[in-house]
């Protein structure tokens, strides 16, 4: 059974993401630091950019080594945002720079946070986005990644933004798969196949 290690960087609901990973067949551990004997490291979607990036950057060498060694990573919501160069939430803060771009408040005249269900659209066909094009996913966020890199799924809220990014062995979703009902289940099953590959 593949193991998923959820990084607990403080506060919030880790219960839902754990349950949903278990439902698709992961053995789930929750730890305060990354461990190399995992198949998947998960950055959950709770907290603020500055707090979480400060926490994760203290392990940056370890994380970069793990990434090079082929361990896969999943970032959900804020967990995806941490992959980028920089965030502005809570003051300008460095991210992991695994993707290039800045995470900033949604620059559009819309109500924030963006809370609710919106469709996600495939930009590039991959095994992670399979079966998801046009489906509804659940979003809760005020910030998005502004990037010149390509992403595999997009969504819209006042502006277009990356809904799913993937590079090498790293995947991130701006939506919450653990809260996205059937859509989330499809994604997590894709993720499971991707892990086993």
């Amino acid at each position: 059974m593949p193991t998923a290690l959820i990084i607990n960087y403080g506060v919030g609901n880790l219960f839902s993401i754990s349950s949903s990973l278990r439902r698709v067949g992961f053995e789930v551990k929750i730890k305060e630091s990354p461990e190399a004997n995992s198949d998947l490291i998960v950055f959950p979607g709770v907290g603020s950019f500055s707090a979480v990036s400060n926490f994760l950057l203290s392990f940056s060498e370890q994380l970069n080594d793990m990434r090079k060694s082929g361990i896969k990573f999943l970032g959900v919501c804020l967990g995806l945002q941490i992959f980028f160069d920089k965030g502005t939430e809570g003051g300008d803060t460095k991210g992991l720079s695994w993707f290039s771009g800045t995470v900033d408040k949604i620059r559009a005249n819309v109500k924030l946070p963006h809370i609710g269900w919106d469709r996600i659209y495939e930009e590039k066909k991959t095994e992670l986005s399979e079966g998801l094009d046009g489906r509804y996913a659940y979003f809760v966020h005020s910030y998005v990644a502004y990037t010149t890199e390509s992403y595999i799924m997009k969504s819209y809220y006042g502006i277009e933004f990356p809904a799913m990014v993937e590079k090498d062995n790293v995947v991130g979703t701006q939506f919450h798969p653990e809260k996205s009902s059937e859509t989330g289940k499809i994604f997590l099953e894709n993720l499971m196949r991707w892990i086993k590959r």
Binding site: N13, S16, S19, G47, S48, I115, G116, W117, Y138
Partner: protein, 250 residues
């Protein structure tokens, strides 16, 4: 952006109940089963309102939240009796995505601010119960029994400023009447704030949902009785709303 349909369950000592007062509570079933059933029928979110009057009843709620969160894969909000940061923390770590704070928010504004700073605005819903008085609305707490003297519009703006991520707005005049949501109240609040507003109180038929989500400017509509009694099936409601041009999740 789709509009959300939210099913609300009143929970007393671990069971879903329905009743016009605490003396006449009818058992409506197991919260875990009912929440899952509503997810299957297309509900976008679930709200549990803990109406337990006893300490043991409140303790049971933690288990209910944990058991529900392990099977549910749509957002879960828990309200009722949330009074301290510890209460907020306990509910979120048990699997709730958001907490809804009503009386304690009025009595201790700091609770909104510290909860929002600690867990993020998205986890904090402030519930506002409002009653019409001439040409404005007054905020009530303690299950609608205590008149605070606060103006509903001003209070809405203030909770936004304090860091609330959403407002759950209930019309006391309409609640339980099934005569339709309070469109004027919902519109007045929704157009005064820049955070999502969930309309509650008065749902009786599908047209009522259409009105509050269109003319009322609500971002979501919440109901309890009409769903529990089978008067409205959520699937039918969504088909109806789509036909009327309201974007909802299918």
């Amino acid at each position: 952006m789709t509009k959300r349909i939210i099913a609300c369950l009143d929970v007393n000592a671990g069971r879903v109940v329905k009743g016009v007062n605490f003396l006449n509570l009818k058992d409506k079933g197991d919260p875990v089963e009912l929440a899952s059933k509503y997810e299957e029928e297309g509900a976008d979110e679930i709200v549990f309102l803990d109406i337990s009057a006893t300490i043991e009843g409140r303790r049971t709620m933690i288990d209910v939240v944990r058991n529900t969160a392990s099977v549910l894969s749509i957002p879960l909000t828990v309200g009722g009796g949330i009074r301290t940061l510890e209460d907020v923390s306990r509910m979120l770590s048990s699997g709730a995505d958001k907490v809804s704070i009503n009386t304690a928010a009025v009595e201790n504004k700091k609770l909104i601010e510290i909860s929002s700073n600690e867990f993020g605005a998205q986890a904090v819903v402030v519930a506002i119960d409002a009653k019409r008085e001439m040409d404005s609305w007054s905020v009530y707490t303690k299950s609608g029994t205590y008149r605070t003297g606060l103006d509903a519009i001003l209070w809405s703006k203030e909770v936004e400023r304090l860091g609330s991520g959403e407002i759950l707005l209930t019309s006391i005049d309409k609640d339980g009447t099934r005569s339709g949501f309070d469109i004027d109240l919902t519109f007045a609040v929704s157009s005064s704030v820049n955070i999502p507003v969930i309309a509650s109180g008065g749902a009786g038929n599908m047209e009522h949902f259409y009105q509050v989500l269109s003319r009322g400017g609500a971002d979501a509509a919440l109901a309890a009785g009409v769903f529990h009694d089978g008067v409205i099936r959520i699937k039918d409601l969504k088909n109806y709303l789509l036909m009327k041009g309201v974007d909802v999740r299918q």
